[in-house]
C-alpha cells in the first residue's frame, strides 16, 4: 500500500476526512497554549518591553511562509512527474495560505520594527527577499486565476513554481550582496542561543508547531474544496453537452 494511493481523489477525500478533526484539534491546542503562554505568562523583555511578544506570531508565520513555498515546489514536481491531480490542487490550495502567512509576517514585522528600529520598513536583505517572495506568491496566484482549463493551469503554474524557486533563491543572495541589514540573524534558530532565555523559547517552539499544524489543516481543507469544485465543474460541463 504505497503513499501514492492517496493521490487518488476518492482515497484522499476519505483519508483527509478522517484526519481533519484531529488536525483541527491539535492546531487549536498548540496555538492556544503557545499564544496564551507567550502573551500572558512570559515577562516583558527588559529593553523591548511587551513588544517582544509579537515574536510569537512573527517568527512562526515567517517560517511557514517560506516553508509553504517549499511545499508548493514539491507538489508541483509531483504533478509534473506523476500527473496526480490531487498534488496539483494541493499546490493551488497552499498558495493563498502561504501568501497569508507572508502578509502576517510582514505586518507583524512592521509593527515590531516601529518600536525596535524606529521605522515600519527598512530595505534589509531579509525583509527585501521576503517581500520578493510575496511577489512570487502574487504572480503564482494570478496565473492560476488567468487560465481557464484546469490542467493547463496546473502545468503552467508548476513550471512557474520551479523556475520561480530558482530565481527566488538567486534574489535572496543578490539581496544579501546588495545590502547588509539590521534584521535579527538566526538568533532563535533551533539550536537555542544564549541571548534568548527559555521563558521565551519554549512557548515560541509551541507556537511554531501550532503554525505548522494550522498550515497543514488549512491546506487539507482547501484541497478538499478544490477537489469538490473540480468535480462540480466536471459534472456541470457534462450535463451541458447532454
Amino acid at each position: 500500500m504505497s503513499i501514492w494511493e492517496y493521490a487518488n481523489p476518492k482515497k484522499f477525500m476519505q483519508a483527509s476526512a478522517w484526519a481533519l478533526p484531529w488536525m483541527i484539534g491539535l492546531t487549536v491546542l498548540c496555538l492556544g497554549v503557545g499564544l496564551v503562554w507567550g502573551f500572558f505568562f512570559t515577562p516583558d523583555d527588559y529593553k523591548q518591553g511587551s513588544t517582544v511578544k509579537i515574536i510569537y506570531l512573527h517568527v512562526p508565520a515567517a517560517m511557514m511562509a517560506i516553508n509553504a513555498w517549499g511545499m508548493m515546489l514539491v507538489t508541483s514536481l509531483i504533478w509534473i512527474v506523476r500527473r496526480h491531480h490531487v498534488s496539483a490542487l494541493a499546490a493551488k490550495a497552499a498558495a493563498p495560505v502561504g501568501l497569508t502567512f507572508t502578509l502576517i509576517a510582514l505586518v507583524t514585522g512592521a509593527l515590531w520594527g516601529q518600536p525596535m528600529w524606529g521605522t515600519w520598513w527598512a530595505w534589509d536583505p531579509r525583509l527585501t527577499s521576503f517581500l520578493i517572495l510575496a511577489l512570487f506568491y502574487f504572480g503564482y496566484l494570478a496565473l492560476w486565476a488567468a487560465i481557464e482549463d484546469p490542467d493547463t493551469a496546473a502545468d503552467l503554474t508548476s513550471i512557474l513554481c520551479l523556475v520561480g524557486s530558482v530565481f527566488a533563491l538567486l534574489s535572496r543572495y543578490a539581496v544579501n550582496f546588495w545590502n547588509q541589514g539590521l534584521h535579527q540573524g538566526a538568533s532563535l534558530s533551533l539550536d537555542k542561543k544564549e541571548n534568548v532565555s527559555d521563558v521565551f523559547w519554549v512557548p515560541l517552539v509551541i507556537c511554531m508547531v501550532g503554525f505548522v499544524m494550522l498550515f497543514v489543516t488549512l491546506v487539507l481543507m482547501r484541497t478538499r474544496t478544490e477537489i469538490r469544485a473540480r468535480r462540480l465543474a466536471a459534472l456541470l460541463a457534462r450535463e451541458r453537452v447532454a
Binding site: A122, L131, F138
Partner: protein, 218 residues
Amino acid sequence: MTALLIRDLRLAMRAGGGFGLGLAFFLLVAVLVPLGVGPEAATLGRIAPGILWVGALLACLLSLDRIFALDYEDGSLELLAAAPIPLEGVVAVKALAHWLVTGLPLTLVAPGLALLLNLPAQGYGWLVLSLALGTPALSVIGAFGAALVVGVKRGGLLLSLLVLPLYVPTLIFGAEVVKRGAAGLEVGAPLALLAAITMGAVALLPFAAAAAVRVNLR
C-alpha cells in the same frame, strides 16, 4: 450606458480580465526602484513622491490597451458605433470603467507602498488626495490614446509612447503636491492645477477620443 459599464466591469472581473494586476504592477515598481537605487532611507524618502507617481502612471498605462482593442478585434466597437448611443458616451463610460478597475485601487493602496519608500509621515494624506484627483485624468487621457491606436495590433508600446507625454502635466503637479505636502509646505497651487487638468480632460477628451474611434473604424 449602464449596460456597457456593467459589461466592462464584468469582463474585467472574469478570468484574464486583469483586475488587480495594475495594483501588482504598482507594487512591483515600488519594490524594483529601491532594488536599483539602493536602500538608503534618506534618498528613498526624497524620491518617493516622484517614484510613486511614476509607478501609478505606468500601472495605469499597461492596462490602457484593453480599453478599446479587445472590442475592436471582436467587432463590438463597430456595432457600438452603429448603436443608438452616442460614441462619446461609450468612450466616457469605458474610461470610467478603466478608472474604477485601475485608478481607484491604485489610490487606495498607495499609502502602503509609500511605507516601502519611507515617504515622510505628513505626505500620506496628500499622496492619496493627489492620486484621487489625478488618476481620472490618467484614465481619460489614456482612453484617448487607446482610441488613436485602436487599429494597431498589440499597439501597447506605441500607445505608451503617445500617452506618456500627455501625462507629463498631471505627473508634475501630482508629484509636486506630494513633495510639498511631505515637506510641510503649502500645496494649494499645484493641487488646484491638478484638479483643473482633470476637469478639462474629463470634459473635452471624450469628444476627441470618439472622433479618433470613428476614424479608425472606417
